[in-house]
């Protein structure tokens, strides 16, 4: 019997028209594991993690998430998505809702948690990401780093089993990056299963069990952060690392 991870890619392929964006991806993420995905622009990192919650659909191969095969008629995708938090590069907070409302919207309407209970939990989560005083602020009144922390709290409000991050700090000013990374480290240390697209080496070294390097739609290399950053095995990963280390 093959062992099943929390997220299991088996021979996954995807095309955008003639472009083979994901090439024969095989990757298994264990429960509580933190996997960092890196690679050059256009290598398919976003597409890879967007497939996991069905924001993109795969063409062939198997993708099993939390024991449910995507594309299977028996899989309730809407239900499965409630178990998967997704943090976007551009935050995508609801601009017409306050920070607290952003956090409680899906718990109230999707999870059907009573409002008072959801608000209590929402306040605690916002306090946890350091925004206890911004509960009633609208997204436009928050800095990028604060918005991204609200976005993380919004995902946590659903009590997900998996959290996916797509370059969560690359739209941020440098001085705001660490406040977001600190929150992500805290989430990782609580045992969340995470896949994080990022080039933040410090974060990878601190909490990731594995770094996956992608190029041109394929996983070219994978190893522990130390193996990957200190002893990259392929020319392509060496070339990539020399580029991100230069600045």
């Amino acid at each position: 019997m093959t062992k099943t991870g929390m997220i299991d890619f088996r021979g996954v392929n995807k095309w955008f028209g003639a472009l083979n964006v994901l090439r024969d991806i095989t990757l298994s993420v264990e429960p509580r594991e933190v996997v960092v995905v890196c690679g050059p622009s256009g290598s398919g990192k976003s597409t890879l993690i967007r497939c996991i919650n069905g924001l993109e659909t795969i063409r062939d191969g198997d993708l099993v998430v939390d024991g449910q095969r995507l594309g299977d008629p028996a899989t309730n995708m809407t239900r499965l998505r409630t178990e998967i938090g997704f943090v976007f590069q551009s935050f995508n907070l609801y601009p017409h809702k306050t920070a607290l409302e952003n956090v409680t919207l899906a718990p109230i309407h999707v999870r059907k948690i009573p409002r008072a209970e959801a608000e209590q939990a929402g306040r605690e989560l916002l306090a946890k990401v350091g925004l206890a005083d911004k509960v009633d602020a609208y997204p436009a009144q928050l800095s990028g780093g604060q918005q991204q922390r609200v976005a993380i709290a919004r995902c946590l409000g659903m009590r997900p089993k998996i959290m996916l991050f797509d370059e969560p700090t690359s739209a941020l000013d440098p001085e705001m990056i660490s406040e977001v990374l600190d929150v992500m480290v805290a989430v990782a240390e609580e045992g969340m299963t995470m896949m994080v697209v990022t080039h933040e080496m410090g974060f990878a070294r601190k909490v990731a069990q594995r770094v996956v390097f992608m190029d041109a739609g394929a996983i070219v290399e994978s190893g522990t952060p130390d193996e990957f950053f200190s002893h990259p095995k392929t020319d392509r990963s060496r070339a990539f690392l020399s580029k991100i280390l230069r600045h």
Binding site: L55, T82, F91, N92, Y94, V110, P139, A140, L142
Partner: protein, 225 residues
């Protein structure tokens, strides 16, 4: 010329103008409510991915926008009785205005919905919302704000278009002007007076648009992405 201009006759006819104004206002209100209903249904059909609803909606919108309102009005006024529906003029008029304006409202609503960034839809999808939840909780409240100013613009157009109902003898504002013009042979007095009343209605709606703009401005702007 001015010495021939009879303010006395205008004053004499004021009650008639008043009635016409009131009729214009309420038939416009009802027609606009109808146009909103038609527009919401049409835009919902038009936003579907499948062609089954989208194609008829698009065909209807094109047909309305490509033909004169007067032709549409006559089509209903003379055509419906032929099909066995004999309706009062006023009802035919309101129907025509609703069906006509509804096509424009549909396009305004669709543009408003499409102006909401894709990331908003994705955030809703990713948190497990259904299509209906996403629309109700995320997209429509934001689109609503964007559509208010152009909708009030459409309301102004509708009020002016309602003048055409005078041609099927609905006793609205323009009809009152026509009566003065034909009874007393005073077209200048008749039509200047109704022009003044239309201007009044125009400024009321413009004021409303400005107010709603200020009210909407109070809400914080969309977050930068």
């Amino acid at each position: 010329m001015l010495e021939n201009f009879s303010f006395r006759t205008i004053v004499e006819y004021l009650p008639l103008f008043g009635q016409g104004l009131v009729t214009t206002v309420w038939l416009s209100l009802i027609s606009f409510a109808g146009a909103l209903a038609v527009g919401i249904v049409l835009s919902a059909m038009n936003l579907q991915r499948g062609w089954l609803f989208r194609v008829p909606a698009k065909a209807y919108i094109d047909a309305v926008r490509a033909t004169p309102l007067l032709a549409q009005l006559y089509f209903l006024y003379f055509g419906l009785p032929r099909l066995g529906f004999v309706l009062p003029e006023l009802v035919v008029g309101i129907l025509a205005l609703s069906l006509n304006s509804g096509a424009y409202v549909a396009e305004i609503i669709r543009a408003g919905i499409l102006s909401i960034p894709r990331g908003q839809v994705e955030a809703g999808v990713a948190s497990g919302m259904t299509y209906v939840q996403r629309m109700r909780l995320v997209i429509l409240p934001q689109a609503f704000k964007v559509t208010i100013p152009p909708l009030l613009g459409q309301a102004i157009v509708l009020v002016k278009d309602s003048a055409l109902l005078s041609l099927i003898s609905v006793a609205e504002l323009t009809r009152a002007g026509q009566l003065l013009a034909s009874d007393r042979f005073m077209p200048a007095e008749g039509f200047i007076t109704i022009a003044a009343f239309y201007l009044l209605l125009y400024y009321c709606l413009k004021g409303l648009a400005a107010l709603s703009g200020r009210w909407l401005g109070l809400q914080p702007a969309r977050s930068s992405t």
